[in-house]
Subunit: 360 residues, 4 copies
């Protein structure tokens, strides 16, 4: 299958370019009779929307989603759900100067090498604009999970490092996450990051990030052995987000430095149930969920669009200095938070349906 679809049983396909007339996706395999409205999806899109603080792109997109199929009289029918968002604030003129050049860190060169043609306007298909559809599809995945597993299931993300600046995990508070423009769970860091990001932005630079996503209330048994382990499915989903270059489950790289006797989660009985004394594995054993929280972290590289000149080349082979004006996120990690949440929700919902098929 070509690369614009995701999932097996909850299967969605996205389409659209940054500066085309619209972007959209089709979500297929949704169980019938789930209540679903445009507002249910809009809620999550609004969290990701550009232009909401000075720390994200100033592109003004209302990102108003329309449901074009698959929902009738307020509930899903089991037919494919088509979602669509018009591109309103396209301002193509911002991008005309990139038509003939390969920008460092951008997909320009690779797309040209692969396809021999490329929609250069705003990054075309490679633009992070596409991630709006992931958030929209993720909203449906949440509905599937809550209908199937229960309201106790949550999927939440937070930015735990901006550039080199780590949070203090001792101050972690999920309530803080919604109250700052960074989705930062540590109020002190959030305050501090404002100055740090302003500084980078004014210097024409950008910062990377580490984002952590956590799902609670996931029942044991999700994940397929061997090649589609839950870890592997999450890695696939999360590494596919624009600018992501690393994925960890549980203790990840740090865990690989521990001696064996400290690296695994011991078990005791509690109220007649198996409980784990720690969660170093991030909620899976042998690639299958254990009932613990699913914990993943991603590394997001700094935004490639910079005011600081970088060495690039033109499509006809001239060396140039590239300065990208336009409107860009100084830290794309911020908007990666709702996207990463959505991808985790999509993976869990897909694996929930797979579980039901074989073991339900």
């Amino acid at each position: 299958m070509p690369g614009n679809s995701f999932g097996q049983l909850l299967r969605y396909t996205s389409w659209g370019e940054s500066h085309g007339p619209a972007i959209g996706c089709v979500v297929d395999g949704v169980p019938p009779k789930l209540p679903l409205t445009e507002a249910d999806i809009q809620h999550w899109l609004d969290r990701r929307r550009p232009g909401t603080s000075r720390f994200t792109s100033q592109r003004r997109e209302p990102d108003t989603v329309r449901i074009l199929s698959g929902v009738f009289e307020g509930v899903t029918t089991g037919a494919p759900i088509s979602l669509q968002i018009e591109n309103v604030d396209q301002r193509s003129r911002d991008y005309s100067d990139i038509k003939d050049r390969f920008r460092p860190g951008h997909a320009d060169f690779a797309y040209d090498a692969k396809y021999g043609v490329r929609d250069y306007r705003g990054g075309g298909r490679a633009s992070a604009r596409e991630t709006a559809m992931r958030v929209a599809a993720g909203a449906i995945a949440r509905k599937v999970l809550q209908a199937g597993i229960g309201k106790s299931l949550t999927v939440r993300g937070a930015m735990v490092r901006m550039g080199p600046h780590e949070i203090d995990r001792g101050r972690w508070d999920w309530k803080v996450v919604e109250k700052n423009p960074f989705w930062c769970p540590d109020a002190v860091s959030a305050k501090d990051w404002e100055g740090k990001l302003d500084e980078a932005r004014k210097a024409g630079s950008s910062l990377g990030a580490v984002v952590e996503v956590v799902a609670t209330g996931v029942p044991p048994g999700l994940g397929e052995p061997v090649y589609d382990k839950l870890d592997a499915a999450l890695a696939h989903a999360l590494m596919g987000i624009n600018a992501v270059k690393g994925v960890e489950i549980g203790d990840g790289f740090a865990g690989s430095a521990l001696p064996g006797e400290e690296a695994h989660d011991e078990m005791r009985m509690k109220g007649g149930k198996v409980t784990f004394l720690s969660n170093r594995a991030g909620g899976t054993l042998g690639g299958i969920s254990t009932g613990q929280d699913i914990v993943a972290r991603i590394a997001v590289k700094p935004t490639s669009s910079l005011l600081i000149p970088r060495k690039g080349v033109t499509t006809d082979g001239k060396e140039v200095d590239v300065v990208t004006k336009g409107r860009h996120d100084p830290c794309v990690g911020i908007r990666a938070v709702p996207v990463a949440e959505a991808m985790m929700a999509l993976v869990l919902a897909d694996h929930w349906l797979r579980f039901k098929a074989q073991c339900g």
Copy 2:
């Protein structure tokens, strides 16, 4: 599709349990007329085989592969290739004491939660024994790549950290890799690690590892945009290896801490061709190969089987101390090297065929 298959166009399906009569796989989609013998595959299997040094499991498996179909008069026919390895040294008695207990860090609990039944002998389907088939399939993937792309294509792995002990990358020498039991590219570290691993082994402990895999000679254009980026496909493949809990492409987590102007690979012209001045991205842009080396790193957790007692529970809810005798790798990272190479080869071969289909 269930989880025991990998790849789309070069598609393989593995089967078998640690202590069943045999393990095997079927590799489908192989182009016709490629010369292929059992020796071609055996070469790579021998590198992964247990029992070759005191640092890997003492299970004695000749791991002799048989080709049962898809090859005729020394060449592939385009029909599915069935590979099979008999399990010779099964020694089931070693494992009878784990029948009724969930061992910390092992898949026991999760498999039981998912399936309600489990082949407990030697880890059953969750055993690392299955990875022999990945190496075998990977040998075929190498043939596909070399026939399609050329002999200059290589996929090589090395262990770059054992437990907390990093190599000195300044001493990196690929020739050293084949000359020590750790696939370590730094001769000094390799020497040092012997003592470190002996110590851990004697203490009944184990060590984790970081493994790096590098492909050279990969043409630009491999990788599907959006959801099947080459990065995402590699993350899927590598995170699916037993005990792996982290994957990085290029600079990965470290790269996300850099300021934007240092994080991306600048370009110049050289001999009329676009060249990159660094390889922080690990060989991809927008998820598509650029012609640079593909570089990935994985975090492998320490072996779960330990002589040091750890807290586990029995299947009927009693708390127990678990000590795993049997024969185990004190550092599973060692055998992860040829497996990770194989998975990268499989990803590249699959994406090569996908490239040919759409853009060839």
Copy 3:
């Protein structure tokens, strides 16, 4: 994968209900740099459009297609192509009386049994309106085939039986096909069918049909052995068209009544090339194309919507007589012709890409 997608490498997903705001599809995997305009697609849609003669539904749909993505400056970019058609003439009031009843021959009962909910307006997702997207996607498939294989490739359909009335194959003339409202290749039968269908329509009855589709210029080698034989892929594609209940390749059922010595296509050399002395197999051997014409036939059942009362039941279990007024095709076989052509083009294009991947 859920059931609203078709194809593996040329993969399309359709969405939309008969009386929703729009219908659409996403076509993924299209090779880059193919010239493609909305007019290219509209050409084929116009052939299928309802309301063009008294022999098809009087629903007035302009069926104007829009390309929303995947095409830039007149050529395909390799990104997914989103196509959309607004539903203009919905007239929902025609269908309000079917809300609470299961009509014989319609999907009402089965959808209700499966999903417990159903968009009853005009058949919802089960409506033949969906087939407009197959024709649109088929137009892209033709482009793929012509770019890859050559302009000599054609895929054409004709109605060879209406109800019980067979054509005289001795009078077959492809030029006649475009000149009558039945896509009938026999001018005499076409004339005769007018009266026959008027009669059925006036009686409130309907007629079935047999449609034949023929592809010329298909190179040898298309089709996957064993489970995805070209025959099997065509059967899948054609049996999935609304109201189709039978598929034959080549001589089909009639061929199975012949003695072995008459049933197979003998071969001779002609101009240094293997040629076949007949085409009883319909262009395949062992499920793989031979270079001969690909010939398939489908049986289309008569329209289920009738003015003659038929016995149905209501959703709450009352027995009723069902009379369907609305606007319907007295012979859905007519509109099945362009749809069947499109499906054959989609199968061939998909298998062409699959051929390129493994054997190209």
Copy 4:
């Protein structure tokens, strides 16, 4: 995916050539805890086995199946089940004369055109020998269906026409089917066919057949709308059987000749349930099962291997008369019966799991 796999959630992949060391398959996605023994599978294989009467190939194959994985202590574990049958009676010498020639009606020419290489021994991968694995996998599908749906579910086949000789459907008796070498449900025809087939065999000719397969006890709701209708899935499965060139569901081609008011199944209430007054649709509406019997028919072309000389060519372009000695079935339709049953069971089991995933 390449063409040697079948099904989505109950997914199996077959491998092996007619004269290789063995044939086999891997069945993945099987629910856990189903009792399964080799005898359960052998039972169905024995029905298909060659050499059981003078009307099937005299190749002597015990076709003894081994389960190599996925079953532990008598029950399925959810892991892939590997099945294998050794090729015992290979007698390669019978086939050496076909090495250099393309036989009419056989796959030789097409395989050569596609792959440029071919295992010519006994038809290689294109041999009907492969269908043994379909029967074996089908035996597992039956277990899945009976565990999920109930013991009342049956899938049975019968030969309803041999060459041009139709049965009298008024004499249909399922008990007769097991008592004659043709799986004929009409005792009078069965008797008559003996002479007819002896005659054909002695003349060096062969006969085709029509086989009917019927599933009872199938619940409503199976089948995916639009592209994976149950009809389409059955057509795909059945048309993929060697030598099959036509598939009908329900009334099929004959039904398309009826006027609308006779062609659809009317409904009444009976004991508070919707019942159908006929089964012209063959058990589906809109591609989804209705609870009625699923009825499919296939056209099997006459065996291609004949003693009567037919015109063929050699691989180096010489015209030759081809006479195929070897050991062949004079009517491959006979052995198509258990194979068609197996394919229907596989389709139903796969769609049962798909139903559970989305609507369960």
